[in-house]
C-alpha cells in the first residue's frame, strides 16, 4: 500500500508566482452596463464597428443563462462586483521598452519572462499582458521583416482594422456561449497574429498573461490568422498573485488556418489555484476554437493545465477544409479543491478530415478532474478519421476523475476510435524504482512524467522544459 501521506506531500507545493506588483493602476468603477462598455471602447479609441460588436454581444449576454451542465460547484459570480478594466498607469505612448515602468519589467523578469533587450528569450517573441492591457511586445521589427504582424489586439484594431473586422467573431461568435458573450462585450486586450501567405514564422510567438489586481477580471482575446501555406507556433503562459477572492478570467481565442497553413497553439496555464481550503483562486472560463478553413490546413492544441480553482475549457477544431487536421494534447493536474472540466470538440465537416485527441488527467487531494469531449462527423465528412485517448490517474482516495466523451457520427465512411482508462500510480512500478535506489518522490515524479509523455512530446522545446518543471514542482514538494 502506497503511503498516502507521502503521496500527499509529494503533490504539495507552494505557489511561487503569488506575489503582487505594487504599481499604480488605472481602474474603472465596478459593474457592467452599456456605459462601462462604451467607456472601455472609448479608452481604447476603438472604431465604431467594434463598439457595435461589443454592445450586440452585451445584449445577447444579458439574455443568456450561466451554464450549469458541467456540475462545477462554485460560488455564484456577481458580475456587477467585477472591475472590467484595469491598466498600469504609464506614459501615453511607448516607443521602446526603455519607457516601460521598470516595476513591470521586473515583474515579468521574476516570472521568468525577461522583456529587456539584453535578456530577451532567444528566438521567442513575447507579448506581455498585464491585467487589461498589453505592455510590451518583443522582436517586432524582426517579425515585420517577414511580414508577420504580432501585436496586441488593441493595436491591431487601430492599425489593421480591416483584418479585425473581417475575422473577429467568425470562429467564436458572440452568441456562442455565456462566457464568450461576456468576453465579446468587455474584452480588453490580447494578442493578434497575422502570418502572410507562404511565410513560416521565423520564431515562436508567445504571450504571457498576468493578473495583478484582485478585483478585476481578465478578458483577453486572441486572434491568429495563418494565410495560405504559412505556419506558426504560438505559446501562452499565465500566472496570478494569491488573493482570498476569486478572480474571473474569461478569454476567447480564435484561430483561422487557410489552405496548407498550420497553427500550433500551446498553453501552460498556472493561474493561482486557491489555497488548501479552496479559498481564492482564478475562475478560468475560456473558449478556444480553431477553424481549419483551407484544404490540408492543421490546427494543433496542446495544453498543460495546472492552475486555476476552476477550469472550464474546451479548445476545439472546426475541420472544414478537405484533408484538414485537428489535434488536441492535454495534461490537466488538479490538487486540493481544484476543479477542472476540460476537453475538446472536433467537428468534422469537410471530407478526409482527421483528428487526434490525447488527454491525460491527474487528480490529487479533493479535486475533481473531468474530460468532456465531442467528436462529430457530419454527413459530408467522408473518409474522416478520429482517434481519442483519455487516461486518468488518481492520487489519493478523495479525488475524482470523470470521463464524458460524446461521439456522433452521420457518415458511414468514417472511423472513430475512443479509449479511456483510469488507474492509480502502480505500486509494482513504484516498488521497482525504489528497489533500484530511486527515492519515492522522484519515482512518483518520474511515473507522472512518463504518464504525460505523449503530450509533453507535442509541446515546443521551451514549453516542454517548463511543463516538465512545473509538474515536477507540483509533485516533488519537499525535494523541489
Amino acid at each position: 500500500m502506497v503511503n498516502e501521506n507521502l503521496v500527499k506531500n509529494v503533490v504539495k507545493e507552494p505557489y511561487k508566482y503569488g506575489f503582487i506588483t505594487d504599481i499604480e493602476t488605472e481602474k474603472i468603477e465596478k459593474g457592467l452596463n452599456e456605459d462601462i462598455i462604451k467607456l472601455i471602447s472609448q479608452k481604447k479609441e476603438e472604431p465604431k464597428f467594434l463598439l457595435d460588436f461589443r454592445l450586440k454581444a452585451f445584449k445577447k449576454w444579458q439574455k443568456m443563462k450561466e451554464p450549469d451542465w458541467a456540475a462545477l460547484g462554485y460560488k455564484k459570480i456577481d458580475y456587477q462586483d467585477i472591475i472590467y478594466y484595469s491598466a498600469p498607469k504609464q506614459k501615453e505612448k511607448i516607443s521602446s521598452l526603455d519607457e516601460v515602468d521598470p516595476k513591470l519589467l521586473e515583474t515579468f523578469d521574476k516570472l521568468g519572462i525577461p522583456l529587456t533587450e539584453q535578456k530577451k528569450l532567444t528566438n521567442v517573441a513575447v507579448d506581455a499582458v498585464f491585467d487589461s492591457v498589453s505592455i510590451a511586445t518583443t522582436f517586432r521589427e524582426e517579425l515585420a521583416e517577414h511580414g508577420v504582424i504580432f501585436c496586441s489586439i488593441s493595436e491591431a484594431v487601430k492599425n489593421h482594422a480591416d483584418l479585425i473586422e473581417k475575422y473577429l467573431g467568425t470562429v467564436v461568435p458572440a452568441s456562442d456561449n455565456y462566457f464568450a458573450a461576456l468576453n465579446s462585450a468587455v474584452f480588453s486586450d490580447g494578442s493578434f497574429v497575422y502570418i502572410p501567405k507562404g511565410v513560416t514564422c521565423p520564431m515562436d510567438l508567445s504571450s504571457y498573461f498576468r493578473i495583478n489586481s484582485g478585483d478585476s477580471g481578465q478578458f483577453e482575446r486572441t486572434l491568429i490568422i495563418a494565410e495560405e501555406s504559412s505556419s506558426v507556433s504560438y505559446l501562452e503562459g499565465c500566472t496570478a498573485p494569491m488573493f482570498d477572492t476569486n478572480t474571473l478570467h474569461a478569454a476567447v481565442v480564435e484561430l483561422i488556418a487557410l489552405d496548407d497553413a498550420s497553427i500550433k497553439y500551446s498553453t501552460v496555464q498556472n493561474w493561482y489555484a486557491g489555497d488548501e481550503e479552496g479559498i481564492g483562486g482564478i475562475f478560468n472560463f475560456v473558449t478556444k476554437r480553431g477553424k481549419c478553413l483551407g484544404k490540408r490546413s492543421k490546427i494543433s492544441w496542446s495544453q498543460v493545465e495546472t492552475g486555476s480553482a476552476i477550469t472550464w475549457k474546451y479548445p476545439s477544431c472546426l475541420l472544414l477544409g478537405e484533408e484538414s487536421v485537428g489535434e488536441f494534447y492535454s495534461v490537466a493536474l488538479t490538487n486540493n479543491l481544484q476543479q477542472a472540466d476540460t476537453g475538446t470538440k472536433m467537428i468534422h465537416i469537410g471530407p478526409k478530415t482527421k483528428s487526434t485527441i490525447v488527454s491525460k488527467g491527474i487528480s490529487a487531494g479533493n479535486s475533481k478532474n473531468s474530460y468532456r469531449g465531442l467528436v462529430k462527423i457530419g454527413t459530408k465528412a467522408t473518409g474522416s478519421r478520429n482517434y481519442s485517448q483519455c487516461d486518468s490517474m488518481l492520487i489519493g482516495d478523495q479525488a475524482s476523475a470523470n470521463t464524458f466523451p460524446y461521439i456522433k457520427s452521420q457518415q458511414p465512411n468514417s472511423e472513430i476510435e475512443h479509449e479511456a482508462s483510469t488507474c492509480r500510480i502502480s505500486e509494482d512500478q513504484l516498488f521497482y524504482l525504489q528497489s533500484r535506489g530511486i527515492e519515492f518522490e522522484e519515482a512518483v515524479s518520474m511515473m507522472v512524467s512518463g504518464f504525460c509523455r505523449d503530450v509533453f512530446n507535442q509541446l515546443p522545446m521551451e514549453f516542454a522544459a517548463e511543463a516538465d518543471k512545473l509538474l515536477a514542482l507540483k509533485l516533488e514538494g519537499s525535494v523541489g
Binding site: D397, T403, K408, A420
Partner: protein, 405 residues
C-alpha cells in the same frame, strides 16, 4: 398524448392500487420527462409522442409465441396470463410473490426514483394493473430454464411489470421476450433482486413489428457474490428505449452485459445504462453494439459510477457501432465517474462501417459481396447472440437477423 392529458387532469381513481396512486401522484408533478436532460435529449419527439398516443389496454389479445418450446422442462410464463404461479418441485420452487412482498419491494424502489431517470418506471407502474404484474420468487437448484413473454396488442398501449427475487445460492437461466405488435406500445419494467451467491443468465429479446414502440426498463440489485449476466437484443421497433440500471449494493459482485440494437428505415432505438458500484471488488464487463442502416438512429449512453467506497473495482465498457448508410446516425457516450483511487476502469468506443479489407479478401476468394457482408455481420451478431440464454440453439435469432438484412 392522451395518457399524459389523463394523468395531468384526472383525479386519482380510488380503485387503483396503492403503488399506482403513488406513481401517478409523482407523475402529476412532472408528467413528461425533461427533453433537455441528457437522458431524453436525443429521443425523437414525434416518435415518443406516438408511443403515448395509444390508449391503455389492460387486457391483451392472444398471441402466437414466435418459436416452439424447446424442451418439456422449460417453464413458460406470459405476463398478464399466468399470474397464478406455484411450482414446488423437489429441488426448486418458483412461487408468486405475495401482495405484501410485492408492494413493499416496489415501494422501496420508488423511494429512490428520480423523476427523469425513472420516468419510464413511473409511467409503467402507474399504468400496470394488478393482472399485469408478475412477481416471482425463485429458490433452489437445478431449475429448468424459464421463459417470460410480454407483449402489446395492436392499437393499444400495454404496461407489464415483472418482479423477480432470486434467493440465496440460486442459479437460473431466464429469457425475457418482449413482442411488439403492429401499431402498439409496450411499457415493460423489470425489477430483479439477486440475493447473495445467486447467479442468473438473463436474456432480453425485444422484437417488434411494423410501427411498434417499446419503453423497456430493467432495474437490477445485486447483493454480494452474485453474478448477473445479461444478453440483450432489440430490433424492429419504430421507437425503443432500453434503460438498464444496475446497482451492486455491497460490491463483490460480477456483472457481464452484452447488448445489441439494430435499427433500419427511420427507426430509433436507444440504450441507456447506469452501473453503480456501492462496495469494493465489483466487476463489470460490458459491450454494447449498434448497427444503424437506412435513415435510422441508434443511441448508446452508458455511465459507470465508482464512489469512494468501491475500491478495487474492475470495470470496462465498450461501445462498438456499425454505420451502414449515409442517412443513418449513431450517437454514443460512454461515461466514467470515479472517486475511488484503487480501481481499474476503462472504456472504449468505435464507429465504423464493415471492414473493407476483409470484404476484399473474401471477394478475392470467390465470395460475393452480399455473402461476404453477411459473413461479417454474422460474426458481429454472433458475439451477442451466443450470450443470450436458451434461444441460442432453439430460436435461431442469427438467421432471423441475417435474413432481414
Amino acid at each position: 398524448m392522451e395518457i399524459i392529458e389523463k394523468i395531468k387532469t384526472n383525479k386519482i381513481d380510488e380503485n387503483l392500487t396503492e403503488i399506482q396512486k403513488i406513481c401517478l401522484h409523482k407523475l402529476q408533478s412532472s408528467p413528461l420527462p425533461n427533453p433537455k436532460s441528457e437522458l431524453w435529449r436525443l429521443s425523437n419527439k414525434s416518435k415518443f409522442s406516438n408511443f403515448l398516443d395509444y390508449s391503455v389496454n389492460e387486457k391483451d389479445s392472444k398471441f402466437d409465441i414466435p418459436y416452439p418450446k424447446n424442451s418439456k422442462s422449460t417453464i413458460r410464463l406470459i405476463i398478464g396470463e399466468n399470474c397464478e404461479t406455484k411450482l414446488i418441485e423437489r429441488n426448486y420452487s418458483i412461487q408468486q410473490l405475495s401482495e405484501d412482498e410485492l408492494q413493499k419491494y416496489i415501494k422501496e424502489q420508488i423511494y429512490f426514483f428520480k423523476e427523469n431517470e425513472n420516468w419510464s418506471d413511473l409511467l409503467n407502474l402507474s399504468l400496470s394493473c394488478k393482472n399485469n404484474i408478475l412477481g416471482l420468487k425463485i429458490n433452489g437448484s437445478k431449475i429448468p430454464p424459464i421463459e417470460i413473454f410480454s407483449h402489446a396488442s395492436s392499437n393499444s398501449l400495454n404496461a407489464k411489470t415483472l418482479v423477480i427475487f432470486l434467493e440465496k445460492n440460486c442459479d437460473v437461466e431466464l429469457l425475457q421476450v418482449n413482442l411488439g405488435k403492429e401499431n402498439s406500445s409496450l411499457s415493460q419494467s423489470t425489477f430483479f433482486c439477486l440475493k447473495e451467491n445467486s447467479s442468473v443468465n438473463h436474456g432480453v429479446v425485444s422484437y417488434g413489428e411494423n410501427r411498434s414502440n417499446l419503453l423497456n426498463s430493467l432495474n437490477v440489485i445485486q447483493q454480494k457474490n452474485s453474478e448477473y449476466n445479461l444478453g440483450s437484443l432489440h430490433f424492429k421497433f419504430n421507437y425503443a428505449r432500453f434503460e438498464i440500471s444496475i446497482m451492486q449494493s455491497e460490491g463483490n459482485a460480477k456483472t457481464n452485459i452484452k447488448g445489441m440494437q439494430i435499427t433500419k428505415k427511420d427507426e430509433q432505438i436507444s440504450t441507456y445504462t447506469k452501473i453503480e458500484f456501492n462496495g469494493p471488488n465489483g466487476f463489470l464487463d460490458q459491450i454494447n453494439k449498434s448497427l444503424a442502416d437506412d435513415e435510422s438512429h441508434a443511441i448508446f449512453e452508458g455511465s459507470i459510477i465508482v464512489p469512494k467506497i468501491a475500491q478495487r473495482t474492475d470495470a470496462s465498457q465498450l461501445s462498438r457501432n456499425l454505420l451502414l448508410s449515409k442517412l443513418a446516425q449513431i450517437d454514443t457516450k460512454p461515461q466514467l465517474e470515479i472517486i475511488a483511487d484503487d480501481v481499474k476502469c476503462k472504456h472504449g468506443a468505435t464507429i465504423s462501417q464493415l471492414n473493407e479489407e476483409e470484404l476484399f479478401y473474401m471477394r478475392t476468394r470467390g465470395i460475393t459481396l452480399t455473402e461476404a457482408s453477411k459473413l461479417q455481420l454474422s460474426s458481429y451478431f454472433q458475439e451477442i447472440i451466443s450470450f443470450i440464454p436458451i434461444s441460442k440453439d432453439k430460436w435461431d435469432l442469427l438467421d432471423k437477423l441475417l435474413n432481414e438484412n
